[in-house]
Amino acid sequence: MANRWTNKLTRSDVTPEPIFMNRRRVLAGLGLGAGAAAGGATLLGGMPNAAQAQDALDPNPFEDITSYCNYYEFGTRKGDPAENAHMLTTQPWSIQIDGLVDKPGDYALEDILSQMTIEERIYRFRCVEAWSMVVPWNGFELADLLELAGVKPEAKYVAFETVLRPEEMPGTRYPVLDWPYVEGLRLDEAMHPLTMMATGIYGKTIPNQNGAPIRLVVPWKYGFKSIKSIVRITLTDSEPPTSWNKAAAREYGFYSNVNPTVDHPRWSQATERRIGGGLFARRQPTLMFNGYEEEVASLYEGMDLKANF
């Protein structure tokens, strides 16, 4: 079911990408930046910390989003995916949906898309490495896809798998991770209206380096949970293994919710740096559940988030 969640900002608030940088410079030049944003947000109906949220939801330019990626199947440097991901064949594409579902099988991507309503969601994106972006995704809710396959009542978790084609993915020649990349969500997380399957960015087909042709986006979790180029979705009754947890269990938990009060063992998660601020960009505070606390905190009621990091 599309449109269950709506942005506090709509597309009309998004300045087209070529002029958005200029506008920001004009505002800064007039000394109006924060003041104007706060005034506008108040008129829109006072959400907490409105000025900050409004400013934070100016999407990063297409160039930022598509040139600075972690997609280790194409190499471990940030520019490697943009350089190498063109090798990946994304057509034809199908997703094998199996496990505890009523209608297991291979679902051709075009058949899935013909039954979905594509909408735009402007989400914050917070990497576990303490950088962040704001991305205007196009896609549909994962819940709609799961409903298509029919989730059996005994299913409790959803496991995801990224395509593994060593001949098209030069990074997989090295055992950086235990390929193929796998991820997982609890069923209630997967069914949450914020959780989406993205097929586009800025209204364009999603570039290969960003997880073409179809990827998961879970905006309140660290970026690595949002698994790319999905070929398999399995409904299970037990917690599925996840790649980064297998690589370093001490550093990456199953939940990996964005949480400024739980540090990564090797760096603080209290602050983050928005990509695109240049050499002198200031750090900004990281928000609980990446700013989606209102929407998702209830999923974790009574849970110790330090133990279940």
Binding site: N60, S67, Y68, W131, Y174, V176, L177, A247, W267, L279
Partner: protein, 200 residues
């Protein structure tokens, strides 16, 4: 043959020329960072570029003695320049981390104590301080035999640099392992398999 050619060139090349050449990457990286040449996240890019160049210089410095002993290539007169420039790039790397990356003073101190890869990096930097302070003719004369002993601190310092790099990457990655492998090899060449005859 090749060794002779290198030695001949090295004899003619003044050391200030090497200082100049090794100093060039720093302003170049800074210029790139300011003009978008380092990508959309120039802070980390600059930090990593400076750190990696420092590690490469440190390895070149460690190679001077083995090159002389096993290949007959004599670059001894450049060793001080290499060492001082290694320190310079480690220092710049540290400055970028402090001022541009972490920014928050209280967090810097917490990071040094709490994050092992930063502790290791800082330890390596600390070991370099007495080295750079005594990289001058006056200190060499003054310290005499103790100077050689003191400058063996280079070995743990470079090793800590290599370990620092290995510890900070995510997952199993080849590059830091390659650096550490080369460092270990260069250090192993210094182990004496047979004890030197002692002069009574």
């Amino acid at each position: 043959m090749l060794a002779d050619a290198i030695n001949k060139t090295a004899r003619r090349l003044p050391t200030w020329a090497l200082y100049l050449v090794l100093a060039l990457p720093a302003p170049w990286y800074l210029y790139q960072g300011l003009t978008g040449g380092l990508g959309v996240e120039p802070i980390k890019a600059l930090e990593h570029a400076l750190g990696e160049f420092a590690l490469q210089l440190a390895i070149v410095g460690l190679a001077v003695t083995p090159l002389r002993r096993w290949a007959g290539v004599n670059l001894l007169k450049f060793r001080r320049a290499i060492g001082i420039m290694t320190f310079t790039y480690v220092f710049l790397h540290l400055l970028v981390w402090l001022l541009l990356d972490v920014q928050i003073l209280s967090q810097i101190w917490a990071d040094i104590l709490k994050r092992p890869y930063i502790t290791v990096g800082m330890a390596g930097f600390a070991l370099m301080l007495p080295l750079v302070a005594t990289s001058n003719n006056w200190s060499v004369r003054r310290l005499g035999a103790r100077w050689r002993k003191l400058h063996r601190l280079t070995y743990p310092a470079v090793l800590l640099g290599g370990v620092h790099y290995l510890m900070l990457v995510k997952g199993f990655q080849i590059e830091p392992l390659a650096y550490l492998g080369v460092i270990c090899l260069l250090l192993a060449l210094r182990l004496r398999l047979t004890p030197r005859p002692r002069l009574a």
